[in-house]
């Protein structure tokens, strides 16, 4: 298994880890990459900040089912 990874792979792992979908080995390789890559350090910091921001916002979404019903209703009204 190679230890050194290119930047696009590092960013990909970074994205996955924002959703807790990166494996231990992936995270290890990412961290090694970050030791020597300034650009990816910046992206990782920005990405983590975004995750935190989204969490802080407590966003909610209207359930899909409700959206479909709403769409149907608007559609009916439009065609009246």
């Amino acid at each position: 298994m190679k230890i050194k990874i290119p930047c696009d792979e590092a960013n990909h792992i970074c994205d996955k880890s924002q959703y807790r979908e990166a494996t231990f080995w992936e995270k290890l390789r990412l961290n090694i990459h970050l030791l020597y890559c300034k650009a990816c350090r910046k992206y990782t910091a920005q990405n983590q900040r975004l995750t935190q921001t989204i969490q802080d916002a407590h966003l909610k979404s209207l359930p899909d089912k409700e959206k479909e019903l709403l769409k149907e209703r608007l559609h009916q009204e439009l065609n009246k």
Binding site: D15, Y19, Q46, L50, A57, L59, K60, L70, L74
Partner: protein, 185 residues
């Protein structure tokens, strides 16, 4: 500035979550918030001919929603006389702790915090407008609703690597938009 036009067929996809988040912090009840959002859209349809195109679609819909929320407040206010009083009984074991608990509760979430969070949420949803609609939808499913990768891939008939490319682009665009519009102000 170009004259804004209304596209009611896209309203639900574009604004439902935005209006819903705006409402939920004000009425604090899912059912009521949902009703107010749908009433807003229906009222919007009815008064489409009054839209002059000076404001954006979103601003216009929010203006309608604000009125709906005020109407709702008035309605519950007039029913206040009949309001039931609820008393929460605490178990005796923790007696004496209650004062501190309540103080804690208050400091936990101040009204200001809530407003700040709400504005932030709306800023995020607004920023999502700048990316392609389908990609924004996928991003929201993954990030806000926490739907897993496999389910999203099946629904949109894309591969996991497609999904991650979309997520990556969305995150980058969103981060830039928030840097420009939220963090700086």
């Amino acid at each position: 500035m170009a004259v804004e036009e209304l596209h009611p067929e896209n309203w639900v996809d574009r604004y439902a979550d935005y209006l819903y988040n705006y409402t939920i912090v004000r009425v604090n009840n899912h059912e009521i918030a949902q009703d107010l959002v749908s009433e807003t859209f229906l009222a919007g349809l009815k008064s489409m001919k009054h839209f002059k195109g000076e404001a954006s679609e979103r601003t216009w819909l929010i203006a309608i929603l604000k009125r709906k929320i005020i109407d709702y407040y008035r309605k519950i206010n007039s029913a206040k006389g009949k309001a039931e009083v609820r008393i929460q009984f605490r178990d005796t074991e923790n007696e004496g702790d209650w004062l501190e608990e309540q103080v804690e509760d208050l400091s936990d979430k101040t009204a200001e915090d809530l407003m700040e969070n709400e504005e932030l949420g709306l800023a995020i949803l607004k920023c999502l407008d700048s990316i392609n609609e389908k990609q924004a939808l996928i991003f929201k499913m993954k990030t806000i609703d926490g739907v897993d990768t496999e389910t999203i891939c099946n629904e949109f008939e894309i591969t996991p690597s497609n999904l991650w490319v979309i997520i990556h682009r969305a995150r980058k665009a969103l981060a830039e938009c928030l840097e420009a519009n939220w963090f700086k102000s």
